[in-house]
Symmetry: C2
Subunit: 199 residues, 2 copies
């Protein structure tokens, strides 16, 4: 199995974290998240979105979108509930992550720490930062009275939201006002077979 | 069952379309997509994302995010495959829709036709329009040689992508250069029990 990967991408980290916890082996090919000029050549046949992570399964079939990959490998394991409502809640959180969370928190982090030209994005950062805090507000509300996001146990919903939340400080987000989130980050990081984003 | 709904939202239309095709009844409560000042009061207990559609099931449990709702009702019906790989492909397209398609095509449509103040967004429209065409390019590539997005038959993946693609012209997107998309739009609209967005 081959993972088109970026070491700094939280979306790729989600896949690496679940596969580590499942004990599934794979090879990686590193793809730049800064110079995207070769994306169509590299990924055009594999992923209409031309994004990483893109995975090529052992039988050659491609699969893309980090949360779809989490679902494919998580289904049938302890990392995804069998209950229809909890499964829908898991997807609810993962769609929240891709629509309301990642486009703000991941993007500001990328601009400030990885793009190499933060000054080019200075005028866009306030609006994206505001959106990121709205996402953190939503996550904090969702964690109120809960140890994990769905069904009282660690699942692919937690992996999905953890990926960029735990590095939000790299986008200058301050998690001090979010006690539920901070305690949950510690719980996720203490799960068996956890690997860090820079492992 | 109660659907917090907006008549003009493509995300809400996805849910209305699938429920119509499944013959599932529900009531609606209309929520403004322009004046969002009462969102926390209205949806705070139901949906951390404070967005429509939000659905309250017959037993009182809430469910949000359009594509998560499609999955919940589609699973076990002819609108969602039983095959693990095709199910993952279905999710891949739905995550593509929420990350790479809706934030561009739906947003430009909203600004131009529904927000009431298109001039406020004039400077942001070129970048969003470019992103929308990139999404249409991805969808066109994905439909090449295919009648429907996944597994050769109409599914919730098609419902998800159809919702905003078929009204992309309201965001001044020109579908003339996309023959695969135009033929697919006609196929989706001719499915049994189809309802239009303004039904």
């Amino acid at each position: 199995m081959l993972l088109y990967n970026s070491a700094v991408s939280g979306n790729c980290y989600k896949v690496r974290l679940l596969l580590a916890q499942l004990g599934v082996g794979y090879e990686t090919m590193d793809v730049s998240v800064v110079d995207r000029s070769n994306r169509a050549e590299l990924l055009g046949e594999l992923n209409p979105g031309l994004r990483v992570p893109t995975l090529v399964l052992d039988d050659g079939r491609p699969l893309a979108e980090s949360n779809a990959i989490l679902w494919y490998f998580g289904d049938g394991t302890s990392y995804l509930s069998d209950d229809p409502y909890e499964r829908a809640q898991t997807l609810q959180w993962m769609f929240f992550e891709q629509y309301s969370h990642e486009p703000f928190i991941a993007v500001v982090r990328f601009w400030l720490r990885y793009a190499g030209t933060p000054e080019l994005f200075a005028d866009q950062i306030p609006a994206k930062t505001k959106g990121g805090y709205a996402a953190l507000d939503g996550l904090e509300r969702g964690l109120l009275g809960r140890e994990f996001l769905v069904g009282g146990r660690y699942s692919i919903a937690d992996i999905s939201l953890y990926a960029y939340t735990h590095v939000a400080h790299e986008g200058d987000f301050d998690l001090a006002p979010y006690p539920m989130i901070r305690a949950w980050i510690d719980r996720v990081a203490s799960q068996p077979l956890h690997v860090t984003i820079d492992a």
